[in-house]
């Protein structure tokens, strides 16, 4: 008889901070106390609070331990598991109120209170490597319902009515996509799952695949039934080994249970799924490039038409959806289109998962109803900006997206509101920046990324992005003129209008949106030759203030001997020699060195 379950997060974030060691120590400690038959350790998917990993929850109490180290385990086992006394000092501080009383439910903590988990509902709840746990949480019930009680047309109508839009970034209505695919009369069709999540700083899809892989298999089967496909491909980044491993386990288990293969649920529906690994090319997240890559070619996009729904993988009509889009499907079938459409805003239904990162207290994975404001995400869920700094901007949509400045922090997060202010929903990366981040430098960072990842097929992207980067280099090194700024902007619009695929067309967005909201910062770089945030090295000057006590430490630490001064007298930095490495500033014990 199992009297207690210990859930330990096995997502990539917590694995990196050592959750496997925690699990091993737990198991050996439990065995030492002869508790292995009473207490079960379960490795789950992501809980979302990656900044506090490794995370461990003990049920039935629901005690939420954070930053768990193997050295804490003996105490937790002997106090909590054996004697029933929760070890409060190791609990997630926000799950305990001031008087030391635990909240009844995790959902009362600030991090979880405003979240609504639909796509992530099983992440951190079930063991992703055990199909029985998925089935116990209504798994494969939606597939059964679809196959035995619904026609393909009814399924498509249900998805249409739900208002679900593609979660990969562009937001195309999913039901409509399914409808197009179903109209093609070809006897052989494929469905595809795009798990080539490449935005730097985004890990939503990975967490779904790691935490709830069966949901994707079930959803792809439903999609295949709706559009009349016989085979599915999952194209997944090879950089996600845990996700690949668990998805393969899930596929094998589904085959064993007859949930993949021939005559599923005793009907004449047959469906199988194959995993194909990416090899590290951002452009392969573009669907035609993805298909070219599966075929064994350089992952270059191709012009449309023909659309994938007519000519997809190996020239077979193919319908492609993103991981998170699929993750919503079984719930929509089970709970109904109305239930899904009741969440969110008028034109953006349901929830969206964001990977919250950058200058924010609660780095991690959050799922919110569409229409939640950026302020709620950053201040309530995210816990605000660390070190008392001021919020400056949030970046969504990665290298294709734009930024939301502090003045628009009350913008509701949905497809249309974000597009209206020049940003985009994107796949779900949400990077928070504070006053120490230079917006020109951020734009340059994203352009470096696109230049690196441009496949080279079309000239506007291959050559154009490189020129954009050169302009930005000029600006950040103080060599640009106002004419350059005009030319930069013109080139941005030219590339937007002329590049072949989504990667090129959206590549100028990080520049355009920072220009829109932070033009004064660009001008400061160009006219005043200053970087207001103090990031761009060539525009910085280190100076020693009157707070200097003349301790000589900085002069001794300076690698190029640029600092001079007598003992107990104020020192001086020679700007001609200074290489702006910042060693003096980080070593000064009196805060006497500033950069401006």
């Amino acid at each position: 008889m199992i009297r207690s379950h210990i859930l330990v997060c096995g997502g990539t974030g917590c694995t990196s901070s050592g959750s496997q060691k925690v699990i091993d120590t737990l198991n050996s400690e439990l065995a030492k106390n002869n508790l292995q038959d009473e207490v079960k350790v379960v490795m789950t998917g992501c809980f979302g609070l990656c900044a506090l990993g490794p995370i461990m929850i003990v049920y039935p109490e629901g005690a939420f331990y954070s930053r768990v180290e193997p050295s804490m385990i003996p105490e937790i086992v002997s106090e909590h598991i054996i004697k029933g006394r929760v070890v409060k000092k190791y609990l997630y501080t926000d799950s305990v109120d001031e008087s030391g009383v635990e909240h009844d439910s995790l959902n009362d903590t600030a991090f979880y209170k405003k979240q609504k988990r639909v796509a992530l509902r099983n992440c951190g709840v079930i063991n992703p490597e055990n199909i029985d746990e998925y089935i116990a949480y209504d798994g494969y019930e939606a597939l059964g319902k679809v196959l035995t009680q619904m026609t393909p047309q009814e399924v498509i109508q249900c998805i249409k009515d739900s208002g679900l839009r593609g979660r990969g970034g562009a937001g195309f209505p999913t039901g409509l996509k399914w409808d197009f695919a179903s109209r093609n009369k070809s006897k052989i069709k494929y469905v595809c799952c795009n798990a080539d999540e490449g935005d730097p700083g985004a890990f939503m899809d990975r967490s779904v695949l790691e935490g709830d892989p069966h949901a994707i298999i079930e959803a792809m089967s439903i999609a295949a039934y709706a559009v009349g496909a016989c085979k599915g491909f999952v194209y997944i980044r090879a950089e996600y080994p845990i996700a690949v491993h668990r998805l393969q386990i899930a596929i094998n288990q589904a085959k064993e249970y007859g949930l993949l293969g021939d005559n599923i649920f005793g009907t004449d529906f047959c469906f199988d799924i194959e995993i194909r690994l990416g090899a590290g090319a951002f452009v392969c997240g573009e669907e035609t490039a993805l298909m070219t890559s599966i075929e064994g070619n350089r992952g270059e996009p191709r012009p449309r038409p023909p659309f994938p729904s007519d000519k997809g993988i190996f020239s077979i009509p193919t319908m492609n959806n993103n991981v998170e889009t699929y993750a919503n499907i079984p719930q929509i079938i089970l709970k109904g289109a109305d239930w899904f459409a009741s969440m969110g805003t008028e034109k953006s239904k349901g929830t969206k998962v964001f990977a919250l990162g950058g200058k924010i207290v609660n780095t991690g994975l959050v799922e919110i109803p569409m229409g939640t404001t950026l302020r709620e995400i950053i201040e309530d869920i995210g816990g605000g900006i660390p070190n008392g700094k001021k919020f400056k901007a949030a970046q969504t949509g990665g290298p294709s997206g734009g930024c939301i400045p502090a003045s628009l922090i009350d913008t509701p997060i949905d497809y249309d509101s974000l597009a209206a202010i020049g940003s985009m929903m994107g796949s779900g990366g949400l990077i928070v920046m504070d006053e120490d981040n230079c917006m020109v430098d951020i734009a340059k960072f994203f352009l470096e990324f696109t230049v690196d990842e441009s496949c080279g097929k079309c000239t506007p992207c291959r050559v154009g992005t490189k020129r954009l980067l050169e302009y930005l280099d000029k600006i950040t090194s103080g060599k640009a003129t106002m004419q350059d700024l005009d030319d930069l902007e013109k080139l941005c619009h030219y590339i937007k209008d002329n590049a072949l695929c989504g990667l090129g067309q959206t590549a100028p967005n990080p520049i355009l949106s920072t220009l829109k909201y932070f033009r004064d910062e660009y001008i400061a770089h160009i006219v005043d030759k200053k970087c207001p945030a103090g990031v761009c090295k060539s525009l910085l000057q280190y100076k020693i203030t009157d707070a200097c006590k003349g301790c000589t430490l900085c002069a001794r630490k300076c690698p190029v001997n640029a600092i001079s001064g007598a003992v107990k007298e104020k020192h001086v930095i020679d700007p001609a020699k200074c290489i702006k490495c910042g060693v003096c500033m980080s070593n000064c014990k009196f805060g006497a060195i500033i950069k401006e």
Binding site: A279, G280, R298
Partner: protein, 164 residues
């Protein structure tokens, strides 16, 4: 893009047998090239021209096409990796927390640029995209070990363990 290897090819008989097994496994699927290249890189650690030639012959795909594919994807390498593979994450979250400075410090200490392997075969250095450990930013990995919440001043100490 990875640099051309100057290290002579030292493939063994066992590795070649394994390569043929991989080729057999995928020969009959649609689009066998990517999985075969991935399998081959797992066996040899990189994809020298000698290995590409075998794949070209067996799958009846031109060497030019294979070379084109190998050089397109960041994950395929024409150069061998070092005994210690250092990867510094340059994803957005790490970057805004200063991973660029971490990378520069490492370059300075081991004297190797991104995408290169040191001449003694000890270190190779890569700048990677987001590895998903944004909660630990800035992050680097040395082989399978993860180092998080790094500061530039910690780098010499961490590397010293591997240098000696």
């Amino acid at each position: 893009m990875s640099k051309k290897s100057t290290v002579p090819f030292r493939g063994t008989k066992e590795q070649e047998e394994k390569l043929y097994e991989v080729i057999e496994k995928y020969r009959n699927i649609d689009g066998p090239l990517m999985p075969v290249l991935q399998g081959a890189q797992e066996i040899y650690g990189y994809l020298p021209i000698e290995v590409q030639k075998i794949i070209s012959q067996e799958l009846d795909i031109s060497l030019e096409h294979i070379y084109g594919v190998v050089t397109f994807y960041a994950q395929f390498s024409l150069a061998p990796k070092g005994q210690y593979q250092i990867s510094v994450c340059l994803g957005t979250a790490c970057y805004v927390k200063g991973s660029g400075d971490i990378l520069n410090k490492i370059k300075e200490i081991i004297g190797v640029d991104v995408g290169e392997c040191s001449s003694d075969g000890k270190f190779s250095l890569d700048a990677t995209r987001c590895i998903g450990a944004c909660g630990l930013a800035p992050v680097m990995t040395i082989n399978d070990e993860v180092f998080g919440r790094l500061t530039v001043s910690e780098i010499p100490g961490i590397l010293a363990k591997y240098i000696n």
